[in-house]
Amino acid sequence: MNKAYILVVEDDLPVSNLITTTLKAHDYRFITAQNGKNAILQASSHNPDIILLDLGLPDMDGVEVIKCIRSWSNVPIIVISARSEDRDKIDALDAGADDYLTKPFSVEELLARLRATQRRLNVMQNQTLNMSSIFENGELRVDYAAGCAYLKDEELHLTPIEYKLLCLLSKNVGKVLTHTYITQEVWGSSWDNDIASLRVYMATLRKKIEVGEEPLQYIQTHIGIGYRMLKIE
């Protein structure tokens, strides 16, 4: 697998150094930008595979950068946020970011996100190649056309809502989906009760697909933010 080409957008030099040192140590190729305008320019001229974007840039709001890049490109964007309030992460995700890291983050965390995003990238490329109606992930298989899901080749008995959630997650594998996004997609609204229902259905869905002594983890919970399906290698 070719290592991804990464655009690092970070105005704080020590943090930028930390990221680029880590990338260098793991044979990623990268370019850097220190502000939003430059980031947009680099993104359009160098065509990176993944963008690491700090939300607190000196010249413009990180969410605006995401919106601008999203207007022409689907490149995965991982936002880095120093603010521990969830709101700006949710805004960034809703604007089209794929994942987030909260400062202070560990080097392992950064690398894990990059690997997850790279897998997402591969899935996205395959999807466009085959226009496949079957989704496969680990022991899980979803046949969109037939409206069925299988675990280890055995058909899963899912409720309509559970199946809807599974499809939504698998079609966005690797991407963090916010509570609001999911409830809007499934119920068309996002009241408090929808989010509470979502938790229950997500828990029952997980019980059905994450079974056994040491179950494979397909669905990741992001407290206060949303859920994500992990791509299993």
Partner: protein
């Protein structure tokens, strides 16, 4: 004065009722005095006393003004010739009325002002106490920050200037010291962020219905690195225990309780997180089978800056913020936190949270 008038609220019905009651009583006493043949000066004094009393009982300046006016009219009606009319014969009376009005107005205003001063003094004292708390917090933190910062900057500077003279083992030790100390700082900052959400002793909560299972998992994810020498078990009595909480804060509570258990017990100790539903509450127990906490210290563990007398197992620093925060957070949710003994030995931190509800729609 004019401004304070505008700011002063209109009197409530209760206040009006009290004023009328007192004025009525004053009038009755006045009538008694006049029957006994006392001079009008005595009656006027009774009215002034009545105004003073009402001003102490009510808070509105409007009420005060109204009282002054009414007392003048009542005095005119009952006690000046011709009685039981608002007319007067004697030329001196209008002057008496004006003076009575002004005197009662001033008396009332002064009384209101005295009361406001008292309130302001109490507020100022509260503010001073809060400032004191803030100052204590700041001093304690700044003091405790010095140690890890000294270690981090010192270690880094050593590496910068003479890293070539260190052998691999020494270097490894230095790296891990820097890492440990910065992790300690990160944890402290998380707690401080929670403190910063407290205002006037109240927490600003973002309540949502959550699964306690997910909250515990999230908390464990944060303590993973620190907990590898301890055995951590999770038991949920029922599947799908829903709680209505501020997720981030409760994650912090569980992190702090586990951290506490790790900090004060030797490696190999078993830590259990157990949750169950009891009526409208979810009860979460965090237990360890360590040495336990002596009876005389139990009362104090939730106090701010209390760090206990016993030596911490791995000499890690503690600033006595964690458990204080746990208590504040749990109480802000309307729950309770207590420290009990775990049989046969060890400690049990038990806290309650409001159970969540959901009506599932397909």
């Amino acid at each position: 004065m004019r401004n304070s008038f505008k700011l002063s609220k209109l009197p409530s019905w209760k206040e009006l009722f009290y004023s009328l009651l007192i004025l009525g009583a004053a009038t009755l006493i006045g009538l008694l005095f006049s029957n006994l043949g006392f001079t009008e000066a005595n009656i006027i004094t009774i009215y002034l006393l009545a105004i003073l009393l009402t001003s102490l009982l009510t808070t509105s300046r409007w009420c005060n003004l109204l009282n002054s006016l009414i007392s003048v009219l009542v005095f005119n009606f009952f006690f000046t010739e011709p009685k039981f009319t608002l007319h007067v014969y004697e030329k001196g009376y209008p002057v008496t009325f004006v003076i009575l009005f002004i005197a009662s107005w001033i008396t009332g205003t002064l009384a209101v002002r005295v009361k406001e001063h008292g309130k302001k003094a109490a507020e100022a004292e509260m503010l001073a106490q809060k400032e004191q708390l803030r100052a204590n917090l700041l001093r304690s933190i700044s003091h405790d920050l010095r140690t890890p910062l000294t270690s981090i900057s010192g270690n880094a500077s050593n590496l910068l200037s003479n890293s070539s003279s260190f052998d691999e083992a020494t270097k490894k030790q230095i790296y891990s010291d820097i890492y440990e100390d910065s992790m300690w700082l990160i944890n402290l900052v998380e707690n401080l962020l929670s403190v910063s959400r407290m205002e006037d002793g109240k927490m600003i909560l973002h309540m949502q219905t959550e699964l306690i299972d997910e909250i515990v998992t999230e908390a464990l994810r944060h303590v993973e690195k620190r907990s590898f020498k301890h055995i951590i078990k999770v038991v949920h009595e029922e599947e799908l225990l829903l709680v209505k909480i501020d997720a981030r804060l409760i994650v912090q509570v569980i992190i702090n309780l586990i951290d506490n258990a790790i900090k004060y017990t030797p490696p190999g100790t078993e830590i259990t997180i157990h949750s169950k539903k009891e009526d409208e509450w979810i009860v979460v127990d965090v237990t360890d089978n360590g040495a336990g906490i002596p009876e005389e210290e139990k009362e104090r563990v939730f106090e701010m800056f209390y760090t206990g007398n016993n030596k911490i197992a791995d000499s890690r620093r503690s600033i006595g913020l964690g458990l204080f925060l746990c208590k504040s957070i749990i109480e802000a949710h309307g729950g309770q936190i207590e420290l009990l003994d775990f049989e046969p030995h060890g400690s049990l931190f038990r806290f309650t949270l409001p159970a969540g509800e959901v009506s599932l729609h397909e």
